[in-house]
């Protein structure tokens, strides 16, 4: 990988976001509304008081955890699209404990989170084994496992876990207060424990990928699994461990949805947050320290758009349009970045041959000859 300067990295990350904001503004003006007012509402919705900010954090926590997990799997070259199902399994495991285990509150909550990590990791391991042993690509395995996790959730909600007054297939009965993550305060209803876990996860993933042998091996596996294997890197166990680490993080994200956001298990409890996380990881090109910043922007945009919808009665799909545009811009800018990199790669050996005394002037035709 060609080293890029930090400002360059930030610029390349922000570029697609800014570009999509500009295009969205044009669209808003096209339907005769004021884009400034739209963005004002979004900002108000996300930041006007501590309660609004808390909503942003409540979306940021699961989104960041899922994104960090995906940074790990992407590093190992795995498209872990099954992250949604891994969130759901975390939620399922935590929900089981919340309903059936009686322990003092702090112990119970810790137990639920550990269970959620196990649940997510197991579901991820399944996708991993399907890949390493049976040759099922993780995208196909993941999609199937997502559906299965969802079906199991709905089965449990409408069957064994239905509320005593009769199921409506919408939700379990609310979980007992002792099993839930406590809020910091009524003015800032966010779970302190979950915040700490997220911050620890950010640091943990960063150091694991950068400063450990495992991180290096994942990178090797991701770059070229065959040569990595020939050089003695245990690629199979790396694939499994990367998947399980991601699953464990996704499991906590799922647990947060049931133990805090909804205080009960609901269908689709993962809410496509995993897919959103995939987008984030593409956007930050797998940089664990950049991910939490981008997830924060995404969370603010999403949460703020609730106010936008209520206050301006703008079409609901506007946030969706913005999201779609960001994806498009990310892909475009990634394409541009690749091109730029290839151009440099092509130029470097030449630069070495010509040696130091003659500075190389960029010649645009070089790229064309390369193609």
């Amino acid at each position: 990988m060609t080293k890029q300067s930090t400002p360059m990295q930030v610029a390349l990350t922000l570029l697609p976001i800014v570009a999509s904001l500009v295009i969205t503004s044009a669209l808003i003006m096209l339907v005769g509304r004021d884009p400034i007012a739209v963005y004002e509402r979004i900002l108000e919705g996300a930041f006007r008081n501590t309660n609004a900010l808390a909503s942003v954090f409540n979306f940021w926590i699961p989104l960041t955890l899922a994104s960090l997990g995906l940074v790990i799997t992407f590093r190992a070259g795995l498209w872990n699209i099954g992250v949604e199902g891994q969130m759901m399994f975390g939620a399922l495991f935590a929900s089981w404990a919340a309903q059936y285990v009686v322990l003092p509150a702090p112990v119970l909550v810790s137990f639920e989170i550990v269970l959620a990590m196990i649940g997510g990791a197991l579901w991820a391991a399944l996708a991993g084994v399907l890949k390493t042993r049976l040759g099922v690509h993780e995208i196909f395995g993941g999609v199937a496992l997502n559906s299965i996790a969802s079906v199991i959730t709905i089965y449990l909600i409408s069957g064994p876990w239905q509320p005593p007054e009769g199921g409506s297939a919408q939700s379990t009965a609310p979980f007992p207060a002792d099993s839930l993550l406590p809020s910091i305060s009524p003015e800032f209803p966010v779970s302190l424990l979950a915040l700490i876990i997220t911050v620890v996860a950010i640091a943990g993933v960063f150091f694991a990928l950068r400063g450990t042998r495992w991180g290096l091996e994942l990178k090797a596996t991701g770059r070229n699994p065959r040569s990595a294997l020939l050089l003695g890197v245990p690629t199979e166990s790396n694939v499994l461990s990367a998947m399980m680490a991601c699953g464990a993080l996704a499991g906590i994200a799922g647990a947060y949805r049931v133990l805090f956001t909804y205080a009960s298990l609901r269908p689709l409890v993962s809410g496509n947050i995993g897919f959103l996380a995939l987008l984030v990881v593409l956007l930050v090109s797998m940089r664990p320290l950049l991910a939490p910043l981008v997830t924060f922007m995404v969370a603010a945009l999403f949460v703020g758009s609730t106010r936008l919808k209520v206050a301006m009665q703008l079409d609901q799909s506007l946030a969706g349009v913005l999201q779609g545009l960001i994806v498009l811009m990310v892909l475009l800018s990634n394409g541009l970045r690749e091109r730029w990199r290839e151009r440099r790669r092509f130029r470097e050996p030449e630069a070495a041959a010509v040696s130091d005394y003659q500075p190389v002037t960029p010649v645009t035709t070089e790229a064309t000859t390369y193609e």
């Binding site: 809410g271 999403f302 209520v310």
Partner: protein, 400 residues
């Protein structure tokens, strides 16, 4: 000179009054919120609530709606009922309608956080059977009558004697509505067609939610097709969206004799009127307006209301909370029989002796597993219908 000053003062006062008028009008603004589970243009359930909000704006001077659509974990994972209600209250909403049974539990919690705002949860019955905050109420319409008409129309139209019921998810509400259709179908199959009631095949397939969620629910388009593939020639829809009528329309254009009866919105037939026998729908507007009027006048009270139809208005639909309308697809020869059935229903329902009962919900009636619901000649209690624990005997399909 005096005159000029006189006119000057008068015109200044007039000008000030003009300025004050919009101010006064603004004081009278009445903001109300409507929270939908699906899109506002689903041609079914959510659209009929959206139209009720428009009805209120048209009929209550100063009323302004704030609507949030598609509040469910898949479409809006970033937000909860509490977040949406908070935004609506900060917009000035004094009444918030939460229009799905999936909002039932959350409505109580949210209402406790905003004691000065009235919350009406529609299709829930929390205000009936649970300890709820005093600012929570429910209303619903007795959809049983239009559903029985739908069932009867299906039985009268069917040549194969096989009727498919496209169900949403399984709960007491969906069970009683499917059962109401079955009762109407069986009654007309027996009394107007002169057939053996046991020869009628009435199959319920539940997709798993109120509308299609890819990968989660069954695909209603596929379910509708498989009903027709298996010999059914009429589908009664019980889901929020319009797949049944779309499929029936496609297959009719290919020359098949198949029909559907949509549910929820009065424009439900629009997508294929020629394949549409009729439509059972909600008309929430008047009930919304009553609630807003009661709140504005300070006389609103918490409670659970299950409003019967206005019998002479079932088709015209000015005041009735529910309605049923025939459509183009209804065969000529069937119409007189369906009208006769409707007359029977009206005669029964307007007879004071039958107050507190619903037409056709009278014994002998058994639940699907054979448990007796009502003995010979006995009416089924309204609450036993509301909380119907199973489908009825004779219906094919899952009860749980």
């Amino acid at each position: 000179m005096v005159r000029t000053r006189y006119w000057l003062v008068l015109s200044v006062i007039a000008f000030m009054l003009c300025l004050a008028v919009p101010g006064l009008a603004q004081d009278e603004e009445f903001v109300f919120g409507v929270i939908l589970v699906g899109p506002q243009n689903d041609r079914g359930w959510s659209q009929s609530h959206y139209e009720a909000a428009e009805y209120v704006e048209a009929n209550w001077p100063g009323a302004r709606k704030v609507v949030f659509e598609s509040l469910n974990p898949a479409d809006a994972p970033e937000t909860t009922l509490l977040d949406v209600a908070t935004e609506m209250v900060s917009e000035g909403a004094r009444v918030i309608f939460t229009t799905s049974d999936s909002f039932e539990e959350d409505t109580d919690t949210v209402a406790a956080a905003f004691p000065d705002v009235v919350f009406v949860n529609i299709t829930g019955s929390n205000a009936l059977d649970e300890d709820v905050p005093p600012n929570v109420g429910n209303f619903n319409g007795q959809m049983e009558a239009p559903r029985a008409l739908a069932g009867c129309a299906a039985a009268l139209t069917s040549e194969t004697g096989k009727i498919g019921y496209l169900g949403a998810l399984i709960n007491p509400e969906t069970r009683r509505l499917a059962s109401a259709s079955y009762l109407g179908a069986r009654y007309c199959w027996e009394n107007y067609r002169g057939e053996d009631p046991d020869s009628l095949e009435f199959t319920v397939t539940w997709i798993g939610f109120w509308f299609h969620i890819p990968g989660v629910t069954l695909d209603p388009t596929e379910v509708a097709n498989s009903f027709f593939d298996n010999g059914a020639d009429v589908i009664i829809s019980g889901i929020d969206t319009s797949e049944a009528i779309v499929v029936a329309g496609q297959r009719q254009r290919q020359g098949e004799r198949v029909f559907a009866i949509p549910y929820g919105n009065r424009n439900g037939c629009e997508e294929a009127p020629e394949a549409c026998i009729g439509v059972a729908y909600y008309n929430w507007g008047p009930a919304y307006l009553d609630t807003i009027e009661a709140v504005a006048n300070g006389v609103w009270e918490s409670g659970w209301e299950w409003l019967p139809p206005v019998w002479d208005d079932l088709e015209a639909n000015e005041s009735s909370i529910i309605g049923y309308a025939d459509s183009e697809g209804l065969p000529e020869e069937v119409k007189p029989q369906l009208d006769a059935f409707y007359e029977e229903m009206v005669a029964y329902s307007t007879d004071p002796a039958n107050e507190g009962t619903i037409f056709l919900w009278r014994g002998p009636l058994n639940l699907q597993d054979g448990t007796e619901l009502a003995a010979e000649g006995e009416p089924v209690d309204l609450l036993d219908i509301w909380f119907l624990p199973q489908l009825l005997e004779g219906m094919v399909g899952a009860s749980q």
